[in-house]
């Protein structure tokens, strides 16, 4: 547990006072971490786990990209290549993206933001982490034992009958992890409904809470359907029964319906929390209330509900009825509206702001740009005839990476930087952080923009060997991926460095609004010395800045502590 020791509190406390008690120095034993029911410690456990999985998933992606620099299969065997992209997809989707913001930032922030002492069910929260870890172990086992080659989509009958890799262990791993997701979502919904501080009405809630709530709805109502579809595939493999087997009159498309009923909304499990993070960061670095608070909030709900109506757009070429395709295409455009509302409102929030460009803001602005590009290419893939051409090509790969990496991961990193001081009590080095934010933005675009072109040219996804004329664009993409890898490596390094050598943070270094900034950094185990009573509207930056100006009229660097 060397990582834990790095979380020690300031080694050089101010000489005149003893180290303040906080959640990090409240016990150092392994037991005090592994049996904790403190939502903040569980968030740290998740942070370590998802970082671990991110590195494995990233490693798999690196080998895939490296191999694709040449059209031939000359780095790894094709079997290995297939297992690598499957590992990349499974790990990044189920073990990094889905738990990333909800389980790390959500766990840490939801009780703090609503002025509660903990989530409604702290033991269940710890159980969620153990379930996640157990699911992760199954998946790691599947990888070590030889891998799985079905793609993260597990399409029957390939997954149920034909693949002779470790489909069962992986499916069990994802099945188990799904329950972690369900329990986390359940915990958030109950907490947000029942544990808000006095005076904290729905329309005073931070937008991150709105988006977390919307995400939780998807987790609770969508994940069980993924569980049952994987369960049926597992039964088919284990008991040799043919639920999806055409030989018994089974329908492989039924699997796709069940799978995408969850897996399309799952995209919004990944990106909605990021939208919440961005909705926190932008007001703070513009020093003003976001434009159209209620519209941003309700659009999160609209996205959560609409996301369940559109899964069939993954089946336009599958043999689904063309009339159903028509319905799903029309419904898919519904999601465009709340997404557009959000992007326009964020942009309008900049208007007449007092904008500074600290690292979280760079990530947030990067998110808005990349999400816009990802979202707009969503119009292409929802347009039936165009989707027929680009379906299962690199166009799709580029599209969903713009949403899931350009969107979700940028938001995640922005959030980690924004709340890092709250989580650890330390400041990260700003210069390095800005450099890496820019590197990630550039590297990302260089990696994935060429893939749009590749896709429209017709290069199918999951191809190990490909025609020579696609090589130039693939090399560009791989070059971008190496920049991206360097970009990701930086935060990993300097954030760890900051744990010991970073400047000690005050309770509110960004002078941000929100209850989480009104307690000390890192917060005490019980979060607040007294239950906060909320009398202000959300994002009341005008008042905060006015108070600040009254305290010290002309020094912008001052840190106002409410704690």
């Amino acid at each position: 547990m060397t990582t834990i020791s790095q979380h020690r509190p300031p080694t050089v406390p101010a000489p005149d006072q003893p180290p303040r008690r906080n959640y990090l120095n409240n016990g150092y034993s392994v037991r005090s971490w592994l049996l904790t029911t403190d939502h903040k410690r569980i968030a740290v456990l998740y942070l370590l786990s998802v970082t671990f999985f991110f590195m494995i998933g990233g490693l798999a992606a690196s080998v895939v990209r490296l191999d694709l620099t040449t059209p031939e299969a000359d780095l790894v065997l094709t079997e290995t290549f297939n297992k690598l992209f499957t590992a990349h997809g499974v790990i990044m989707v189920f073990f990094f993206l889905i738990p990333s913001i909800p389980s790390v930032l959500g766990n840490f922030l939801v009780p703090l933001m609503i002025g509660a002492r903990d989530l409604a069910f702290p033991k269940l929260n710890l159980l969620s982490w153990y379930i996640y870890t157990l699911g992760g172990l199954f998946t790691i086992y599947a990888l070590v034992a030889g891998g799985v080659d079905t793609g993260w989509t597990f399409y029957a009958p390939y997954s149920s009958t034909y693949s002779n890799t470790h489909v069962m262990a992986t499916a069990v791993g994802i099945f188990i992890t799904g329950f972690s997701s369900i329990l986390t979502g359940l915990n958030f919904i109950v907490t947000i409904h029942k544990m808000r501080a006095p005076g904290l009405t729905w329309f005073r809630l931070p937008l991150f809470i709105w988006s977390t709530y919307a995400t939780s709805i998807i987790m609770v109502l969508g994940t069980p359907v993924l569980a049952i579809s994987l369960f049926l595939v597992g039964m088919e493999r284990l008991l040799k029964i043919g639920i999806f087997d055409p030989k018994l009159g089974g329908d492989p498309i039924l699997f796709q319906h069940l799978f995408w009923f969850y897996s399309h909304p799952a995209v919004y499990i990944m990106v909605l929390p990021s939208m919440g993070v961005v909705s926190e960061i932008i007001p703070c670095f513009c020093r003003k209330r976001p434009f159209g608070y209620a519209f941003i909030g309700f659009s999160s709900f609209a996205i959560a509900v609409f996301s369940f109506l559109v899964w069939g757009h993954h089946l336009f070429v599958s043999g689904q009825s063309v009339y159903a395709g028509l319905v799903f295409s029309a419904l898919s455009y519904l999601v465009a509206i709340p997404s557009a509302i959000k992007v326009f409102n964020w942009t309008a929030s900049l208007h007449k702001g007092s904008i500074s460009f600290d690292t979280p803001m760079l990530y947030a602005l990067g998110f808005v740009g990349l999400f816009t590009m990802g979202g707009l290419t969503g119009l292409f893939v929802a347009a039936l005839a165009v989707d027929v051409h680009v379906h299962d090509t690199y166009f799709i790969v580029a599209h969903f990476h713009y949403i899931m990496v350009g969107g979700a991961v940028m938001g995640y990193l922005g959030g980690i930087h924004f709340w890092w001081s709250k989580m650890t009590g330390r400041l990260y080095p700003e210069g390095w952080a800005r450099l890496s934010a820019i590197l990630i933005f550039v590297g990302f675009n260089l990696t994935f923009f060429p893939q749009y072109i590749l896709g429209y040219l017709g290069m199918p996804r999951r191809y190990h060997v490909y025609p020579e004329e696609f090589q130039v664009l693939n090399v560009m993409s791989s070059a971008g991926a190496s920049i991206l890898a360097v970009g990701y490596f930086f935060p990993l390094t300097y954030l760890l460095w900051s744990l010991r050598w970073g400047k000690i943070a005050s309770s509110n270094p960004w002078r941000a609004a929100g209850l989480e900034w009104q307690t000390s950094s890192p917060p005490p185990t019980e979060n607040f010395a007294q239950t906060p009573v909320v009398r202000d509207e959300a994002y009341d930056y005008a008042t905060i800045d006015a108070q600040l100006a009254a305290v010290k009229p002309s020094s912008p660097g001052v840190e106002l502590s409410h704690g």
Partner: protein, 237 residues
Amino acid sequence: MVDVHSTRVPSAVRSHSDSASHSALLPPSALAHQFDDIEQQHAADELGIWLFLATEIMFFGGMFLAYAVYRRQDEAAFAAASTKLDAGLGAINTAVLLCSSLTMALAVHAAETAQRKHLIALLVLTIFLGTVFLGIKGYEYHHKYEVGLMPLAGFPFVWEGPSAGHAQMFFNLYFVMTGVHALHMLIGLGVLTVLAIKALRGGLLGEFATPVNITGLYWHFVDIVWVFLFPFLYLVR
């Protein structure tokens, strides 16, 4: 946006680090530290279990969807396969499960009104009825195995008549759906056993009745699943 105003009241501005403060009001185990009062805790528990049951609806829903799709494809085959199930036993089992739901509902009532003896008796009765259900289910499974209607794990599937494929699909669905249901019953029986032991030790009464109430909701849900499984599997004509 049901509760526009927070459920928490501003009156309770008190120190949290001092956990002894509420031990004077209530026995320490009734109120968890993260809640302000027992009402808030009960409301959270109830909302939590209902959200869990909503996930269960979707979980079973996936299987019911598979059933609906395949039944549409070949209704005659499903009807023919259904006649091989013993509708009488199915009806008896439904009655057994409905009885257990009644005893469970009465157990919740007994726990909340702090009638210890009633609670113990009703929990034991519920466990007994649940076991009877599983016993009958086991007998049916065994019978299907003996007559070659259990197409699992390479066991033979003997089918005289048309549409052997779809008939086999019916039995696949029958075993998967009732199997998952039986698994839920087993989990429920395990929890009920723990509750019965706690009740024997004098727990679960009055303010402490929440576990009984939550288990009751779960048990009724499992009952509802069977209420649909019974006609869809045994009574297809």
